[in-house]
């Protein structure tokens, strides 16, 4: 999961602008797709975290 977090952070960094980030509507469909894919990669294992920690 550390790897997947790092991958997402790295991709986000590409869109850093000033103090924040570029607006969503400034991204190309491919860039949005890339981010969505990284969020999904992280989201699926993350959803199992609670039970992994609790049980």
């Amino acid at each position: 999961m550390d790897e997947k977090f790092a991958a997402l952070q790295a991709e986000l960094k590409k869109h850093a602008k000033g103090d924040g980030f570029a607006y969503y509507n400034e991204l190309s469909p491919e860039q949005v797709q890339g981010l969505a894919s990284l969020v999904d990669s992280l989201g699926e294992p993350l959803s199992k975290l609670t039970s992994a920690v609790v049980l």
Binding site: Q33, D40, S41, A52, L55
Partner: protein, 469 residues
């Protein structure tokens, strides 16, 4: 299903067609939804299959008691006999075999096909995914949920392993057929997953055909999964759960629902109609044509060593063919039949006879012109015009809503299985795209894919195992 004494309504139409081939296990019993739901409340850990079997037994016993009272001995015997086997809608197509299921399996009524881009570059992760998919596919084909704990038996504080929308539904002859696109072997000039030299020669990049209007979001993909079932929710559940298992390794590139089959792949099936209203697939290859299947569908052993993993496999051609149906609907019956080359009612060749009569392409009408027009779809698609090549078609009607201009976005999702697309698809499609008036005026290809479908999986193995050996 005749002689069922208690008004059993669970038989999906078509389940009990005569002459089912041997590889389809058809089973029966009571599958009344209410009974199954009751059973579920008392046996939460039963699998879907077990559940239905239990419902069958419970229902049958209850009815047997009643029947004994007023129906007499025969009815009791019949009921008791049916209690030993599970529900009718529950026909299960075995997942394991020499060939993958979903090719010669008599075409089920519904389709959900998805193509995935593989996002990982790690060979081990890819193999793990194929193993996980194999386990899930096998479970779902058997009518069971995915994962060890299914949809409702896992930890309360964890998302359920299975998404659950197929609980209470029968296996519905679900088949899952997997294929590999060129992008699995190489992408952007780079070899992937150590598969250097393993891409089969026949896994070509399809050429651009005249009139193609392919949309990138509906074209290509590294892995394809064809889910077919008699219940649409079972097919959608299968793709959804495979996609979920794949997050982080694959991403859905495109997916397509098909609401009705347009081909029959068994002589026991009646020929269905496409959205032009014509019978489609009359002359299709059928499961009963063993020799022809070997000649036209299955990849033979004995190719180059790098391609041995494909022996017993096939190639899947997928084309999303949009139909200009509003324009078609304004065309006279005479012209419609001329474009197809068959009658609309019976589906007989315009040279006469019935649906399965051999067309006489030379027979001329009173004006001296051939009865089956030179530019008709049937003439151009016929094996006689294509060096005798045949394909096993397994297409589905689709509609994806409307186009925003008041027209249906509808057509035929063409699927064909062939032993080599270079000889068995490309020449015919080129001829059609150029000469077939139907194709030129009423059809538009908006999506496309070509996939190498590995042979079947044996118990203990995984999909495409030979490629990674």
């Amino acid at each position: 299903m005749s002689g069922c004494p208690f008004g059993h309504t669970g038989d999906a139409a078509g389940v009990e067609r005569s002459g089912e081939p041997n590889d389809v296990v058809t089973s029966r019993g009571a599958s009344d939804g209410g009974t199954a739901a009751t059973a579920e409340t008392v046996t939460p850990r039963m699998s879907r299959r077990g559940l239905l079997s239990l419902a069958g037994v419970g229902g049958a016993v209850a009815v047997a008691g009643l029947a004994a009272g007023f129906l007499g001995h025969d009815a009791v015997t019949a009921t008791a006999a049916s209690a030993s086997v599970p529900a009718a809608g529950e026909a299960v197509v075995p997942f394991f075999g020499d060939h993958q299921a979903g090719i010669t399996t008599p075409a089920q009524d519904r389709l959900h096909m998805a193509a995935f881009d593989v996002t990982t570059e790690d060979r081990k992760e890819l193999i793990k995914l194929l193993k996980d998919w194999t386990a899930a596919a096998q479970a779902m084909a058997a009518g069971d949920p995915t994962g060890k704990t299914g949809a409702v038996d896992g930890p309360y504080d964890a998302p359920p392993e299975d998404t659950g929308e197929a609980l209470d539904l029968a296996a519905s002859k679900l088949t899952l057929t997997f294929g590999f696109g060129a992008g699995l072997f190489e992408k952007d000039g780079k070899v992937r997953f150590g598969l250097d030299g393993r891409r089969p020669e026949a896994l070509i990049d399809l050429p651009h055909f005249p009139g193609d209007d392919l949309q990138p979001g509906r074209t290509g993909g590294d892995i394809v999964v064809q889910a077919c079932a008699d219940d649409p929710q079972v097919a959608v559940h299968a793709i959804r759960n495979l996609a979920r298992i794949g997050f982080g390794k694959v991403r859905v590139r495109w997916s397509q629902l098909g609401f009705g089959r347009t081909s029959s792949t068994s002589r026991a099936q009646v020929t269905p109609r496409n959205l032009f209203g014509f019978k489609d697939g009359t002359n299709n290859l059928k499961v009963e044509d063993n020799a022809l299947l070997d000649e036209h569908v299955w990849v033979a052993p004995g190719g180059p060593a790098s391609e041995q993993w494909m022996a017993g496999g096939s190639y899947l051609v997928a084309r999303r063919i949009q139909m200009h149906i509003e324009i078609w609907d304004r065309t006279s019956l005479r012209e419609q039949e001329g474009l197809i080359g068959r009658t609309k009612g019976v589906g007989a060749p315009l040279s006469g006879g019935d649906e399965f009569s051999t067309p006489d392409f030379a027979m001329a009408g009173r004006n001296g012109e051939p009865l089956i027009p030179m530019d008709s779809h049937m003439r151009l698609a016929h094996p006689d015009q294509n060096n005798g090549v045949r394909m096993l078609r397994r297409g589905y009607n689709f509609t994806d809503g409307s186009d925003g201009l008041g027209h249906l976005d509808a057509g035929l999702f063409f699927i064909a299985f062939v032993k080599d697309p270079r000889t068995h698809y490309v020449p015919m499609q080129l001829a059609m795209a150029k000469g077939d008036t139907l194709s030129v005026e009423y059809l538009k290809h908006t999506g496309s894919g070509l996939f190498a479908v590995p042979p079947g999986v044996q118990a203990g193995g995984f999909i495409g195992e030979g490629l990674f050996a």
